[in-house]
């Protein structure tokens, strides 16, 4: 069956690819484009490991078709750092040891980026609800939430006592 030609912007650069209808955006990112940072934990929208930002909205790339990316702007975990300089969110996750196996981490970092883009000053409750769709088998979430609250304060130019 013929593949569809899709043209999109991925991490600020124009990207063109061919994909089959049943391929998800996650399949395309990982298997066609070679951006393997986004993970497939479940493939059913439950775990958030595949989180990406599409036109300013956080979505599960496993629940979007690759063909739907036509004309869209997509940010993946690979687009979060600035060259070799880690984004403050990534730096803070390291400092707080907010990861163990790291499988959930790309999704959590992308989801945190989307949270702070929309709400630079979330309460802890808001942060926990926002991240409720990102499952982590290892950390128990507390270090994640502490890292998120602290980096939010840093990015607002405050420091938490």
């Amino acid at each position: 069956m013929a593949k569809t030609y899709v043209s999109a912007t991925i991490n600020g650069e124009s990207a063109e690819f061919l994909c089959e209808t049943q391929q998800t955006l996650l399949d395309v990112l990982r298997d066609v484009i070679g951006l393997t940072g986004s993970k497939e934990g479940c493939g059913s929208g439950d775990c958030g490991a595949c989180s990406v930002i599409v036109d300013d909205r956080l979505v599960c790339s496993c629940l979007m078709l690759g063909v739907e990316a036509e004309g869209k702007s997509i940010t993946t975990i690979e687009g979060i750092a600035n060259g070799d300089t880690l984004h403050p969110i990534q730096q803070k996750f390291l400092e707080y040891a907010a990861l163990q196996c790291g499988f959930c981490t790309p999704g959590l970092i992308v989801a945190t980026k989307a949270l702070l883009d929309e709400n630079p000053n979330p309460t802890e409750t808001e942060a926990r609800y926002w991240l409720a769709g990102n499952l982590c088998r290892c950390t128990g979430y507390d270090k994640v939430i502490r890292a998120v609250m602290d980096v939010a304060a840093d990015m607002r130019g405050e420091t938490v006592a």
């Binding site: 049943q22 059913s44 739907e68 989801a111």
Partner: protein, 295 residues
């Protein structure tokens, strides 16, 4: 292997032609948060996917003669950010907001929730309670249908093969009107309703109910609109007697099943309790008492 085609038409006519012309199963795609899960599990094997999101008007919210019109494919996150809808229809907004995670909210739509036709769909009782109508388009033109006529059984709707929903129309809101939605789940996020309840009311200056619609989810093969429950509210304030009657008629309307989420007896009891609580929140809101989110 498979021969799955995809089209993203930019007009209603093109979309209808594609749906009508498909030899095999054709599915409309909004947010894909049900459709893609079902396709990936192998439960659904469509031949054609018609992505309707590029049709003008199908995404977005507008006001027409004082009534809100919500595009069928509008993502939950867009609805929740709309101040006017939050003020006039807090129950509908909170019901849609309960669906899934932030990621799911970026995509999930009212039309998808309604047409997936799960008896436990969260926004559907609120949509029934609101008295919303769906503007349906197809080969024979357009028709406007009360939302409660759309789901006909689990996973089944009254829409013809070549039809889809373009938008939802909410009625003009009289003064002292409001709504609320609650679902019961064993945790606070990311679960499917054991029971859901949506209620919309209009009160007079003395707090007496002059119009009501009551809807229950997850207690029958489809979401139910419970006329008997509306009847016990109309003409009354929400006193102890009215609450007791509401509880009883809500329980009597239930035809649930027993599954891992709850037994028949449990679901029936919960339906009565939820109806009381939702009515209290909706009456408070209609009386101008702010009470935040119902959940």
């Amino acid at each position: 292997m498979t021969s799955l085609s995809y089209a993203a038409p930019t007009s209603v006519d093109d979309a209808v032609k594609l749906l009508a012309g498909s030899a095999g199963l054709a599915k409309v795609l909004s947010g894909g948060t049900d459709l893609l899960v079902q396709m990936r599990s192998g439960r659904l094997k469509p031949e054609l996917i018609v992505d309707t999101k590029k049709i003008p008007g199908i995404i977005g919210i507008r006001e027409e003669n004082g009534a809100f019109i919500i595009g069928a494919g509008t993502p939950g996150a867009v609805v929740e950010a709309h101040a006017g809808l939050n003020a006039a229809w807090p129950g509908l907004v909170e019901a849609l907001d309960l669906i899934g995670s932030t990621q799911v909210q970026g995509r999930c739509s009212l039309a998808g929730n309604l047409c997936n036709a799960s008896p436990a769909a969260d926004s559907v009782p609120a949509l029934f309670a609101a008295g919303a109508t769906a503007i349906i388009v197809g080969s024979k033109g357009r028709r406007e249908v009360p939302v409660e006529q759309i789901p006909t059984g689990p996973g089944r709707t009254s829409l013809a093969k070549d039809e889809f929903i373009l938008e939802f129309k909410l009625p003009v809101r009289p003064a002292r009107s409001s709504d609320a939605y609650l679902r019961f789940i064993p945790r606070t996020e990311m679960d499917i309703a054991v029971v859901g309840c949506g209620i919309s009311v209009t009160l007079d200056a003395n707090g007496v109910c002059t119009a009501a619609r009551v809807s229950l989810g997850a207690v029958a093969p489809t979401v139910l609109l419970v006329q008997e429950a509306a009847d016990v509210l109309i003409g009354h304030t929400l006193d102890a007697d009215t609450l007791a009657k509401l509880d009883a008629v809500a329980q009597a309307a239930c035809k649930p099943i027993t599954d891992k989420r709850g037994t028949i007896e449990y679901r029936t009891k919960i339906a009565g309790v939820l109806a009381r609580r939702v009515a209290a929140i909706a009456f408070d809101r209609a009386n101008g008492i702010k009470n935040g989110k119902a959940h």
